[in-house]
């Protein structure tokens, strides 16, 4: 075994690309080496701000391969022989062996492929890898056409300590590299991976592995905070990023003017994180933010980091001063005063401004309020206020704080508590892990907002297709589903959507003059659009239930009934699942299927013959009819009160009579009348069961 070491050194690689780049490098090199017959042991890869690398143990050469190639029969035409010799690399046919098989004698060429030196293989592979490296974004540099993420500076390519002078992008690989820009300029001449690691992590001041840099940052930050009586606000995403911004991470505790702590915590945290890449720090006693931050520098400064800390603190102060300025500017007006300004922000070209949307949402929220047990006036008011913060300077600067800022402003004005909650929560749930609003006013607004979005985009025919969903309509529909289910809202979905459509048309008329939402914008026919939207929402429900482990055939069995009250659907699916898990349920299903199969076969012949189910000639028939007559009213009553498990236990009464029926009664009687009566009896059972679920869809 010999050691292969490859390092690519270049100008600063974006932090977000480093990990993937080293993984790609590993994958491509391993693929290339193994395709050439080389085995790979002890493979290792690493990535950092200015370098990615790979090392592995490989054999000094690839194995010899000997193979036999079967040729034409002895005595075959000249042409066939010539073709064979050419393909097998023979200069004369006498070089081939002659072998026997059942059909006669034929030529066989022995092909010996000598193994290649690994160095030669590497020489072939590396330019290929370098020239087609899958960077998410790459660039040309200088006068070359070679593309890399940023200008390539140098490469190390060693096999067993010997340089393999591969070339890429006008650079020839050697055995030297540079260390940290400030602390370890090098050049360092490298003999092996162990030597590389020792030199770079020693004199070179470069921690090669992302994991090591992360661990150092996390441990140092924790220790530094503890020493100061503080606690780090952990942030894995940020940790990953800063570990890609420093070759030699040095953690520094900075401070800021405590007066800034009056700003909302989120504003401070975002200013630190997104703009400056600082970790927030809190006071472990109170749990609230401390007037400090953790910054990860890339060097050990001779003054212990004082100047770095002071510089960073100044930048943060300027940012927070901006945020404070925005906030005080925003506070000069009441939240509701921003309402008219929403007209300047386009929601969608064909669906008007955000104000137009807010108007619609308010009208719809008012309608939905009774369903969510909310005060209609509050719901309407909340819907109008909910979007107002979008035009505040704070939210323009910190977009992700939409809702939170509006709530804060409204609370500071002493506004209604429910409305305040609704302003923040109406955006929820924003994703699968986000919570669902539960305050009735918030529920009404959240629901109205999502319905308006969905109906609007359906109306203008901007529906998601395949992987394309630029307006995040799947997320909106899933949010809608979760709000309805979690709050057990009883809504007739189609009717509700039609209402939203009507609101939209009304607003459209009112706004007709402005040309914002022209009549032409609403395309297609309303009924079919709503039907399509309902099935889109139902699909989200299916996905949602499936993720919770509900059998998809049961979902189908209930959906087949055409119901669009989501809560009822789910209740029914759950009752069905519980029922089918029982012995009764399982047997009844078997009986049902038997009945259904007979009816299906009969259906193929034409109409079902007439008959009277109650005029059975055998005891089993009468017993089954009796049982059915008893079960039916019970089932109807249970269904009416939406007690699906009761309906199913009522259906379960039929289990024994059905079993006896199929045991003792011949449906296909020679007597036409008897046959008709029996088929009709089965039909009645089929219909009754069909009220509960479409058992045909159930597997089993």
């Amino acid at each position: 075994m010999t050691e292969f070491l490859f390092e690519i050194f270049c100008e600063e690689i974006p932090a977000r690309m480093q990990k993937r780049a080293a993984e790609d490098l590993r994958k491509l090199l391993i693929e290339g080496l193994s395709k050439s017959g080389l085995s790979i042991d002890n493979a290792h890869h690493w990535a950092g701000p200015r370098r990615i690398g790979f090392k592995a143990d490989i054999p000094a050469k690839s194995p010899d391969i000997s193979d036999e190639r079967k040729g034409p029969r002895v005595g075959a035409p000249e042409q066939a022989l010539a073709g064979f010799m050419k393909a097998a690399g023979l200069s004369d046919i006498s070089e081939a062996m002659i072998k026997d098989d059942k059909k006669g004698q034929f030529y066989v060429a022995k092909i010996e492929k000598r193994g290649r030196a690994s160095a030669d293989i590497i020489k072939d592979i590396i330019p290929e890898v370098m020239n087609s490296f899958p960077w998410p974004k790459s660039m040309k540099s200088g006068s070359t056409t070679f593309r890399w993420v940023r200008p390539l500076q140098s490469m190390i390519c060693l096999l067993d300590g010997e340089v393999i002078p591969v070339e890429a992008g006008g650079i020839t690989a050697g055995d030297s590299t540079e260390g940290h820009r400030q602390h370890g300029r090098g050049p360092f001449t490298i003999k092996s991976f162990a030597d590389y690691k020792k030199q770079l992590e020693g004199k070179g001041h470069v921690l090669l592995d992302m994991a090591d840099r992360k661990a150092k940052i996390a441990a140092d930050a924790k220790a530094l905070c503890e020493k100061a009586g503080l606690e780090l606000v952990a942030d894995e995403g940020l940790l990953n990023e800063v570990a890609g911004l420093a070759e030699w991470p040095v953690v520094i505790l900075g401070d800021m003017d405590p007066a800034f702590l009056e700003l909302p915590g989120e504003v401070i945290r975002l200013s630190m994180r997104d703009h400056q890449k600082y970790f927030a720090v809190r006071d472990p006693k109170t749990g609230s933010l401390a007037p400090n931050f953790i910054v990860v520098a890339n060097q050990i400064a001779p003054d212990g980091g004082k100047a770095i800390s002071a510089g960073n603190s100044r930048v943060l102060s300027a940012r927070l001063a901006d945020a404070r300025f925005f906030q005080s500017e925003d506070a000069k007006s009441k939240l509701e005063d921003y309402y008219d300004k929403l007209d300047t922000v386009v929601f969608h070209k064909k669906l008007g401004s955000i104000k137009d949307k807010a108007e619609r949402v308010a009208a719809l929220a008012r309608e939905l309020a009774s369903k969510t047990r909310a005060d209609a006036n509050k719901a309407e008011q909340a819907a109008k206020l909910a979007k107002c913060d979008l035009v505040t300077q704070t939210v323009i600067e910190f977009t992700s704080l939409q809702g939170q800022i509006g709530r804060l402003m409204y609370e500071r004005e002493g506004g209604d508590k429910d409305i305040a909650i609704a302003i923040e929560d109406h955006y929820r749930p924003q994703g699968p892990s986000d919570t669902v609003p539960s305050n009735p006013v918030a529920v009404a607004v959240a629901l109205a907002d999502k319905i308006d979005t969905l109906v609007g985009f359906w109306a203008i025919d901007e529906r998601p297709t395949g992987s394309k969903d630029p307006y995040a309509l799947r997320r909106a529909a899933l949010g809608l589903v979760r709000i309805i289910l979690d709050n057990e809202l009883r809504l007739d979905l189609s009717k509700t959507l039609l209402k939203a459509w009507a609101v939209m048309e009304m607003e459209n008329l009112a706004d007709g003059e402005t040309g914002r939402l022209s009549d032409a914008a609403i395309s297609g026919d309303e009924q079919s659009a709503i039907e399509n939207l309902v099935s889109f929402i139902i699909d989200r429900l299916k996905v949602h239930l499936r993720e919770q482990g509900v059998r998809h055939d049961l979902i189908d069995a209930v959906f087949a009934l055409g119901e669009d009250d989501l809560v009822a659907i789910v209740n029914r699916v759950e009752a069905l699942q519980a029922f089918l898990d029982t012995d009764d349920g399982e047997n009844l299903l078997a009986g049902y299927k038997r009945a259904a199969n007979i009816l299906k076969a009969e259906g193929k012949k034409g109409d079902l013959p007439s008959g009277d189910p109650h005029k059975g000639s055998q005891a089993e028939e009468t017993a089954l009819f009796e049982a059915l007559s008893q079960a039916r009213p019970k089932i109807d009553k249970a269904l009416e009160s939406e007690d699906y498990s009761k309906a199913m236990s009522a259906l379960a009464i039929l289990r024994d009579p059905i079993d006896s029926f199929f045991d003792g009664v011949m449906v296909n009687s020679d007597d036409e009348k008897e046959r008709g009566n029996r088929l009709r009896l089965l039909q009645s059972i089929h219909d009754t069961a069909g009220q509960i679920a479409n058992f045909d869809s159930v597997e089993g």
């Binding site: 977000r16 040309k140 540099s141 200088g142 006068s143 200008p151 400030q182 770095i308 510089g311």
Partner: protein, 304 residues
């Protein structure tokens, strides 16, 4: 920062130091372009000269105007007129990063004490159809420069990649001088016979008046007409039998600035905004294409 050490550079000292530094590295030192532009990039010495196969190394100061950023001289960080220092090296030399770091040393940023970082930031200027990959350069968390390797300009792939450096001079000077308010920057040091001059002495009144004009008095109807006239002139010059891309580009720049004024007046809706940007981009693109075509046919030292 450098307070305790030797006296830090004045604003003009900073400019002079950069001029000397880059002159020393072989850059042609040009003077600012004599039209209103939004950034140093828009100087024809960058936009047009970064096209085509001829090497070009240049550095210059460019006064830049962003009408919407005006704050009537009341904001310590924001100005509607400010200075950028611009360096173009085409093709970018392999050691351009080192040259850049050397310029920070030259203006007195001690890299032992201060943390310099290259943070991913891909630059794009949609109005001239230009983009490139590069970084924001941070000094102790503050952006001190934009560093870009041009990939496309005027909607055309570049033949040679230019390395572009843009220093925000006011911000850099504030850092070097340790000043919190831009108007407190020392512009010119005092001598035995002349007084110290501050940035505010030079520019505060200009910020007040220009902001007032930009936000309150710029006549939108006239601006729109001038925009359209400039656009027409540019197109006319490009449509000539022997097109004149250099003067045409000046009209594209005028159109661009007039659009910025309209924008600052708040009369441009978001949809219109995209349209205006596209109109300016189309002009810039036309100029770029015409420039490349003509430049290719001009022999070296053609005047001889």
């Amino acid at each position: 920062m450098a307070k305790t050490e030797s006296k830090s550079l004045s604003f003009q000292g900073l400019i002079l130091t950069l001029q000397n530094y880059w002159a020393d590295k072989g850059c042609t030192i040009l003077q600012p372009f004599d039209l209103e532009v939004g950034a140093g990039t828009l100087h024809p010495a960058t936009v047009l000269r970064s096209l085509g196969p001829k090497p070009w190394n240049v550095a210059y100061v460019q006064p830049s105007r962003r009408p919407a950023d005006g704050r009537y001289g009341e904001n310590p960080n924001r100005l509607q007129h400010y200075y950028q220092y611009q360096v173009i090296m085409k093709p970018n030399p392999p050691n351009m990063q080192d040259l850049y770091l050397g310029s920070l040393d030259a203006i007195g940023i001690d890299r032992e004490l201060h943390d310099i970082r290259f943070v991913e930031d891909d630059w794009e200027n949609p109005t001239v159809g230009a983009w490139g990959l590069g970084w924001e350069v941070w000094c102790d968390g503050m952006e001190v420069s934009q560093y870009t390797y041009f990939q496309q300009v005027g909607g055309l792939d570049v033949d040679l990649v230019s390395g572009e450096l843009t220093y925000g001079l006011e911000r850099l000077a504030m850092y070097v001088q340790g000043v919190e308010n831009v108007y407190d920057l020392v512009f010119t040091d005092a001598t035995d016979t002349t007084p110290e001059v501050l940035y505010g002495d030079v520019f505060h009144q200009n910020e007040v008046q220009q902001s007032t004009y930009n936000f309150e008095h710029a006549d939108t109807e006239r601006l729109l007409r001038w925009f359209e006239d400039s656009e027409r002139e540019c197109k006319y010059l490009l449509a000539l039998e022997k097109p004149l891309p250099l003067p045409a580009y000046e009209y594209a720049l005028k159109a661009s600035h007039l659009f910025n004024l309209l924008d600052a007046r708040g009369v441009v809706s978001p949809t219109q905004r995209q349209e205006y940007i596209k109109r300016v981009r189309d002009l810039a693109r036309g100029c770029a294409e015409s420039y490349v075509a003509i430049d290719a046919a001009i022999p070296a030292k053609a005047w001889r």
